[in-house]
C-alpha cells in the first residue's frame, strides 16, 4: 500500500516538475520572441528556411534529451556515489553489452536525423526552374546586384552614418543593417541568385531566407529563394571575413508583391 502511495506522489511530483519546466521554457522562448533580442534561429519566410528551422529544432531536441540522460546519470553518480557518503567503489570495468548498446543507439538516431536533413539539402541545391535571376557580386565593402536580362543593376552600400558608429549620435533601430538601395525581389517567385566577388571572398546571408552562400572571386555559385510569407523587409550581413569593414556591408532585401515588383522594375528601367 505504502509503495503505491509513494509511487503516485512521485508521479505527481514528476508531472508537476515537467509542467513547471515546460512553462519556464515557454515563458523564456515566448518573451524572447516578443523581446527585441532573439534566443533562437528565425523560422524565416521561405519553405526552405522553415525546413531548416525544423531540422534545427529537431536536432536541438535530440541533444537536449540526450544531455538530460547523460547529465542525469553523472549528477546521480556525483550525489550518490561520493566517498563522503560512504560509497565503496565497485570494481567493474567492462561490459560488451552496454558498449554495443551505446554504440548502436546513437548510430540509429543519427540515421534518423540524416534522412530529413538529406531531403532538405537536396531541395536547397535544386535551383532549376527559376523565374528570374539576380547576379550578386561582393566588393570590399558593398554588394552589387544585377538583374539578369533586365538591364537593371546597382550597388548597395551601408547607410548608417559614421556619427552613429563612432557614438556621436544615437543609434537607430536598424543600426548597421540598413543600406542606401535594397535588393528588391517579388514574393511567391522562385528567384535564382548567382554569386561571385570582385576582390576577396564574401558571403551573402539573410537569415530569413534560411541560407548563406560564399561569393568567391573568379568562381560562380548559385542558390535560390522563394519568399512565401508575403512582402516585407529582410535584413542580413556579410558572413565571411573580408577585411577591415567586414562588419559594415549589410544586406537588405525588400520583398514586393508581383505587381509592385513589376512597377518597381519598370521605374528602374526608365530611370536609367
Amino acid at each position: 500500500m505504502k509503495g503505491t502511495v509513494n509511487k503516485t506522489s512521485v508521479t505527481k511530483y514528476m508531472t508537476m516538475f515537467s509542467r513547471c519546466t515546460i512553462a519556464a521554457i515557454a515563458t523564456l522562448v515566448g518573451s524572447a520572441a516578443t523581446a527585441e533580442y532573439g534566443l533562437n534561429m528565425t523560422e524565416g519566410v521561405t519553405d526552405i528556411s522553415k525546413q531548416v528551422y525544423g531540422l534545427h529544432m529537431m536536432v536541438l531536441g535530440i541533444c537536449i534529451i540526450a544531455s538530460i540522460v547523460v547529465y542525469g546519470v553523472i549528477v546521480y553518480s556525483l550525489v550518490k556515489h561520493r566517498k563522503s557518503k560512504g560509497a565503496v567503489a565497485a570494481q567493474f570495468h567492462e561490459s560488451t553489452t552496454v558498449e554495443i548498446l551505446w554504440t548502436a543507439v546513437p548510430l540509429i538516431v543519427l540515421v534518423l536525423m540524416a534522412i530529413p536533413a538529406t531531403k532538405t539539402l537536396i531541395a536547397m541545391e535544386d535551383s532549376r526552374n527559376s523565374e528570374m535571376t539576380v547576379k550578386i557580386t561582393g566588393y570590399q565593402w558593398k554588394w552589387h546586384y544585377d538583374y539578369q536580362g533586365e538591364g537593371v543593376d546597382f550597388f548597395s552600400t551601408l547607410s548608417t552614418p559614421a556619427a552613429q558608429i563612432y557614438n556621436r549620435e544615437e543609434k537607430g533601430e536598424h543600426y548597421l543593417l540598413e543600406v542606401d538601395k535594397p535588393l528588391v525581389i517579388p514574393v511567391d517567385t522562385k528567384v535564382r541568385f548567382v554569386l561571385t566577388a570582385a576582390d576577396v571572398i564574401h558571403s551573402w546571408w539573410v537569415p530569413d531566407l534560411g541560407w548563406k552562400k560564399d561569393a568567391i572571386p573568379g568562381m560562380v555559385n548559385d542558390s535560390w529563394t522563394e519568399i512565401i510569407d508575403g512582402p516585407g523587409i529582410y535584413r542580413g550581413q556579410c558572413a565571411e571575413l573580408c577585411g577591415r569593414d567586414h562588419g559594415f556591408m549589410p544586406i537588405v532585401v525588400r520583398a514586393l508583391s508581383k505587381e509592385d515588383y513589376k512597377a518597381w522594375l519598370e521605374e528602374q528601367k526608365n530611370s536609367i
Binding site: 563522503s84 546571408w205 548563406k212 577591415r244
Partner: protein
C-alpha cells in the same frame, strides 16, 4: 627538482655518472632532459595563454557595447586572428607537448624521450617562432588580420608582416612535427620490458594517436602556407582564379590540416581526464580497450570530414551529403567516450579534489560543445549556423572548457608530483568555481547571438545583440582575471607547501606514482619490473 644530487639517493637507479642538471641559467638552453623540457613547454604554454588571453580581452572590450569604442576595426581583425593562432599553436599545443614530455617517459618506464636533442630544438623553435609572430604587430600594415584560417585572397592583403607570419607558422609546424616524431619514437621503442601496448596508460595512447595525426596534418599546413607565399611573391596562381587557380582549393587543403588539428588538441585532453576520473572515482577506467579503439576511430574520421567547415563554398550536392554523413558519424565514438567516463564514475567512491572538479566540468561542458558540433554537422542547418557566433560558442566550448579545462586538471593533478608539494586546495577550488561559472557566462550567450543572426569576426553590431554581448564580455573579464589564481597557486606550490608523498592521490594508478615527488632528475634508468607494470596496468583489475 632543483638540487644537484637528487638522483643519488634514489636507490632504484644505481650508479650513473650524469647526476643532475647543469647549474645556472644555461641549463635551460642546453637541456636535453625530458623533465626540464616538459617544464619549459608548460611555462611557455602558460605564457602564451596569457598573451592570447589579453588579445581576447581586447576583443571582448570592443564588443562590450555596440559602436566602435576602443580599437580600429582592422586592429580588431588582427586581434581575432592572432588570438586564435597564439592560443592554438602557442598555448594549447605546447602545453600538451609539455605534458607528453614530463609524463610519457615516467608512465612507460623509460629514462627519457627517445630523441633528446631533437626535443631541445623542438622546444627552442617555439620562442623564436612566437617572438617573430608577435613582432608582426609592430610592422607596417600591422599583424595578420585575415583570420587564423588564412583564406586567400584576403590574407594576401596583409602588409609587410606576411612573409614573417608564414615563416613563423613554418617554425611552429616544424616544432610540432619534431615533438610528434619524438613521442612516436619514445612510445614505440622505449617502453619498459613488459609494458605492452594494451598495458599503457590511456594518456600515452591518446598522445601516440595524436602524434600520428600531427604527422599527417602539419606538413599539409606547411604546403598550404608555402603556396600562399609563392602566390604573393613569385607570381604563382595556386589560389587565384585569374591564373587558373582556385581560392576554394586553399580551404580544402587548409581544413585537411585544420580538422585533424582540432582532434590533435582534444585527444590528449581525452587522455588526461581518462587518467583523472578513475583516480578520484577509485575505480578502473570503464572500457579501456574501447577507449583506445574510440580514440583511433575519432582520429581516422577526423581526417575525412574536413569540408564540413566549407558547406557554404558551393560544393556539389554529393560532396555536401558525404561530408554531412561522415561528420555526424564522429558523434558515435565521441559518445562512447562520454558514456565510458560516466560509467567510470558510476558506483565509484568519488571525491572532489581540484583535478576531479576540472575533469567533471570537462565531461559536462565538452559534451555541450559536442552537441553543438552535432548540430553544426547537419548540412542544411549549417547554412544558417556557419560563420556566426553559434560556431564561436561551439569551438570555445570544446577548446576552452574542453582542452584548457583538461590542462588545468592535469596541472593540478601532477603538480604535486612535479614540485614535491601539495598545491593549496582552497585557491585551486576558488580558481575552478570562478572559472567554471564565468566561462559559461562568457560562452553560453554566444549560442543565442549566433542563432539570432550575429556573424562572427565583426567589431560592431546591431543593438539587438547588445545585452548578450555585454553579458558575454563580463563573463570574459572575470574568466580572464581568474586565471591569475592558477599562477598564484602554481608559484605557491613551487615555493613550498605540504610535502607530497610519492603516491599523492589515494586512487592513482600508473608508474609515475612509484617515483618520488619530485622525481629524480633521471628516472627509470633501470626499467621497472614487470610485476610493477602489471600492478599499474589499466586492465589489471
Amino acid at each position: 627538482m632543483a638540487t644537484v644530487d637528487t638522483a643519488d639517493h634514489h636507490d632504484n637507479h644505481g650508479h650513473d655518472d650524469h647526476h643532475g642538471p647543469e647549474p645556472g641559467i644555461m641549463r635551460w638552453f642546453k637541456t636535453t632532459n625530458h623533465k626540464d623540457l616538459g617544464t619549459l613547454y608548460l611555462i611557455f604554454g602558460l605564457t602564451m595563454f596569457f598573451i592570447g588571453g589579453a588579445m581576447a580581452m581586447i576583443i571582448r572590450l570592443e564588443l562590450f557595447q555596440p559602436g566602435i569604442q576602443f580599437v580600429d576595426p582592422y586592429f580588431f581583425n588582427q586581434m581575432t586572428t592572432m588570438h586564435a593562432i597564439v592560443m592554438i599553436f602557442g598555448g594549447v599545443m605546447p602545453a600538451f607537448t609539455g605534458l607528453a614530455n614530463w609524463m610519457i617517459p615516467m608512465m612507460i618506464g623509460a629514462s627519457d624521450m627517445a630523441l633528446p636533442r631533437i626535443n631541445n630544438w623542438g622546444f627552442w623553435l617555439l620562442p623564436a617562432a612566437f617572438l617573430l609572430f608577435l613582432s608582426t604587430l609592430f610592422m607596417s600594415g600591422g599583424g595578420p588580420a585575415g583570420g587564423w584560417t588564412l583564406y586567400p585572397p584576403l590574407v594576401l592583403q596583409t602588409g609587410d608582416a606576411f612573409p614573417f607570419v608564414i615563416f613563423s607558422i613554418h617554425m611552429m609546424g616544424i616544432s610540432s612535427i619534431l615533438g610528434a616524431i619524438n613521442v612516436i619514437a619514445t612510445v614505440i621503442n622505449l617502453r619498459a620490458p613488459g609494458m605492452t601496448l594494451m598495458r599503457m596508460p590511456i594518456f600515452v595512447w591518446t598522445w601516440l594517436i595524436t602524434a600520428f595525426l600531427l604527422l599527417l596534418a602539419m606538413p599539409v599546413l606547411a604546403g598550404a602556407v608555402t603556396m600562399l607565399l609563392t602566390d604573393r611573391f613569385f607570381d604563382t596562381t595556386f589560389f587565384s582564379a585569374a591564373g587558373g587557380g582556385d581560392p576554394v582549393m586553399f580551404q580544402h587543403i587548409f581544413w585537411f590540416f585544420g580538422h585533424p588539428e582540432v582532434y590533435i588538441i582534444i585527444l590528449p585532453a581525452f587522455g588526461i581526464v581518462s587518467q583523472i576520473i578513475p583516480t578520484f572515482s577509485r575505480k578502473p577506467l570503464f572500457g579501456y580497450a574501447s577507449m583506445v579503439y574510440a580514440t583511433a576511430s575519432i582520429a581516422f574520421l577526423s581526417a575525412i570530414v574536413w569540408a564540413h567547415h566549407m558547406f557554404t563554398v558551393g560544393m556539389p550536392l554529393a560532396g555536401e551529403l558525404y561530408f554531412m554523413f561522415a561528420t555526424v558519424m564522429i558523434a558515435v565514438p565521441t559518445g562512447v567516450k562520454v558514456f565510458n567516463w560516466t560509467a567510470t564514475m558510476w558506483r565509484g567512491s568519488i571525491t572532489f579534489e581540484a583535478p576531479m572538479l576540472w575533469s567533471i566540468a570537462f565531461v559536462i561542458l565538452f559534451t555541450c560543445g559536442g552537441f553543438s558540433g552535432l548540430m553544426l554537422g547537419i548540412g542544411p542547418a549549417d547554412f544558417q549556423y556557419h560563420d556566426t557566433y553559434f560556431v564561436v560558442a561551439h569551438f570555445h566550448y570544446v577548446l576552452v572548457t574542453g582542452a584548457v579545462f583538461s590542462l588545468m586538471a592535469a596541472g593540478y593533478y601532477w603538480m604535486p608530483k612535479w614540485t614535491g608539494h601539495m598545491y593549496n586546495e582552497k585557491i585551486a577550488k576558488a580558481h575552478f568555481w570562478i572559472s567554471t561559472i564565468s566561462v559559461n557566462v562568457l560562452f553560453f550567450p554566444q549560442h543565442f547571438l549566433g542563432l539570432a543572426g550575429m556573424p562572427r569576426r565583426i567589431p560592431d553590431y546591431n543593438p539587438q545583440f547588445a545585452e548578450f554581448n555585454m553579458i558575454s564580455s563580463i563573463g570574459g573579464f572575470v574568466f580572464g582575471i581568474s586565471q591569475l589564481l592558477f599562477v598564484w597557486c602554481l608559484i605557491k606550490c613551487i615555493r613550498g607547501g605540504d610535502k607530497a608523498t610519492s603516491q599523492v592521490w589515494e586512487g592513482a594508478q600508473g608508474l609515475e606514482w612509484e617515483l618520488d615527488s619530485p622525481p629524480a632528475y633521471h628516472t627509470f634508468e633501470t626499467p621497472p619490473s614487470e610485476e610493477l607494470i602489471i600492478k599499474h596496468a589499466p586492465t589489471a583489475h
